[in-house]
């Protein structure tokens, strides 16, 4: 009895969705106006990590401007203190970064909605310092007690640049207020490293990988659209 009720419920839900989905196809031919403007926001994950994670501190502002149909000019600017804690060494990087590029909105909105599912490209540049807080010389033989070297040994004036592929979305929660999230795949193009050492973390790029130029990142952000003008949707 109970099972057949569940079955009936599931089937009716299924039909409800399929029929209502079909009904959603826009039939009206009245021209729809879309808002163009500047969207500015802040990355929520970085202040949250600042609170939760020891040694981490970060802030990122972001913005995009719709230039043509589904194309946006987008940029992020930020400052981060990134720790890296390994088995034999501990490092902190500290610096600022800027990322500039374009977003393409691949989502076909229905009338009156302005959500974004986008793919984007960025060029990122970071200027930072890296501090080797402490390290231990690796030795297979343990006859002598391990030797610890206490820092801080700081190298400043380091730079790095990278290209970044972004996939994400922005949902209009309230009028003009957007909640967004994205994932980033990065590939380092240039970098200057400290002498006899390597960049283990780069602000804006996050941690690096030995023997690989790739990196990953994410953002969870809230932004506000300042509408500047309206234009009829094609």
């Amino acid at each position: 009895m109970k099972q057949s009720l569940i079955l009936l419920y599931t089937i009716s839900i299924f039909f409800f969705f399929t029929t209502s989905l079909r009904a959603q196809t826009p039939l009206d031919t009245i021209p729809v106006e879309e808002r163009f403007g500047l969207r500015v926001g802040i990355d929520l994950s970085k202040p949250l990590r600042t609170l939760l994670e020891e040694d981490y501190r970060g802030l990122e502002l972001l913005g995009d401007y719709r230039v043509y149909k589904n194309y946006y000019i987008a940029a992020e600017i930020g400052n981060e203190q990134l720790p890296f804690d390994g088995d034999n060494l501990r490092v902190t990087a500290n610096g600022s970064y800027i990322k500039v590029g374009v977003d393409y909105n691949a989502y076909d909105n229905w009338a009156g909605m302005e959500n974004v599912i986008f793919a984007g490209l960025r060029y990122g540049f970071s200027t930072f310092s890296q501090t080797l807080e402490e390290y231990q010389i690796y030795s297979v033989n343990q006859y002598f007690p391990p030797t610890n070297f206490e820092g801080p040994f700081e190298t400043s004036g380091l730079t790095a640049s990278w290209v970044e592929f972004v996939l994400g979305l922005k949902v209009e929660l309230l009028r003009n207020l957007y909640l967004g999230g994205n994932v980033q795949l990065k590939r380092r193009v240039t970098q200057s490293t400290p002498p006899n050492f390597d960049n283990l973390v780069i602000p804006g790029f996050n941690r690096t990988y030995d023997g690989s130029a790739f990196g990953v990142g994410y953002s969870y952000n809230i932004s506000y659209l300042i509408p500047l003008y309206k234009k009829a949707k094609d």
Binding site: D87, I137, T147, G168, L185, L200, R207, Y209, G211, F214
Partner: protein, 181 residues
């Protein structure tokens, strides 16, 4: 109504994006966070013992016990090998070792201690430690440059001559020091 449905769809996409990110993070790292055993890290000092008379022939010292001066722990107890591997101190410019030939056996309970015919020679190995970055998992290693070995004269040495074969200790492929006895 429509708006709500859209939001639900977006929610699903957000979940998917999160999942993709999770995958990226998990497949991306870990591999280079462990120092592999095959990595050439801080090399050890390799000593080869040769015959003082016939300078080509390896001659293992008899019951050789080795320990660093001021260290209680023995690194080799009554060994009979022609090749010896010794670690060097990383925080100093020199390491002093005691080489005890014919080291006496520790007597078992009730047994009498055997006659002590041991001969202790001290060698000071001095060098310039050079730190070299390997990777984030192994951190740094030390190469020992300008190696020098000095036998302390105690009037009755069992060691004849010490020759520095390799001035810079950068790997463990060849002996760095040859001891004739």
């Amino acid at each position: 109504m429509l708006r709500k449905k859209i939001k639900r769809q977006f929610g699903k996409s957000l979940l998917l994006a999160g999942f993709v990110f999770f995958l990226l993070i998990n497949t991306g790292c870990q591999r280079d966070d462990i120092c592999p055993e095959s990595t050439q890290t801080t090399p050890m000092l390799i000593i080869s013992f040769l015959d003082a008379e016939d300078q080509e022939t390896p001659k293992p010292p008899v019951n050789l016990t080795v320990r660093a001066v001021f260290y209680d722990t023995i690194i080799q107890a009554r060994g009979n090998e022609a090749l010896l591997r010794l670690p060097l101190r990383l925080d100093a410019q020199a390491t002093e070792y005691e080489f005890i030939l014919n080291a006496p056996e520790t007597p078992e309970e009730g047994e009498e201690a055997p006659e002590d015919i041991s001969n202790l020679d001290r060698i000071t190995f001095s060098y310039t430690p050079e730190q070299i970055y390997i990777n984030r998992a192994c951190s740094f290693k030390v190469n020992f440059l300008n190696l020098n070995a000095r036998l302390e004269d105690d009037g009755n040495p069992w060691i004849n001559t010490i020759i520095v074969e390799e001035e810079n200790i950068e790997n463990e492929t060849e002996p760095h020091i040859i001891i004739y006895h």
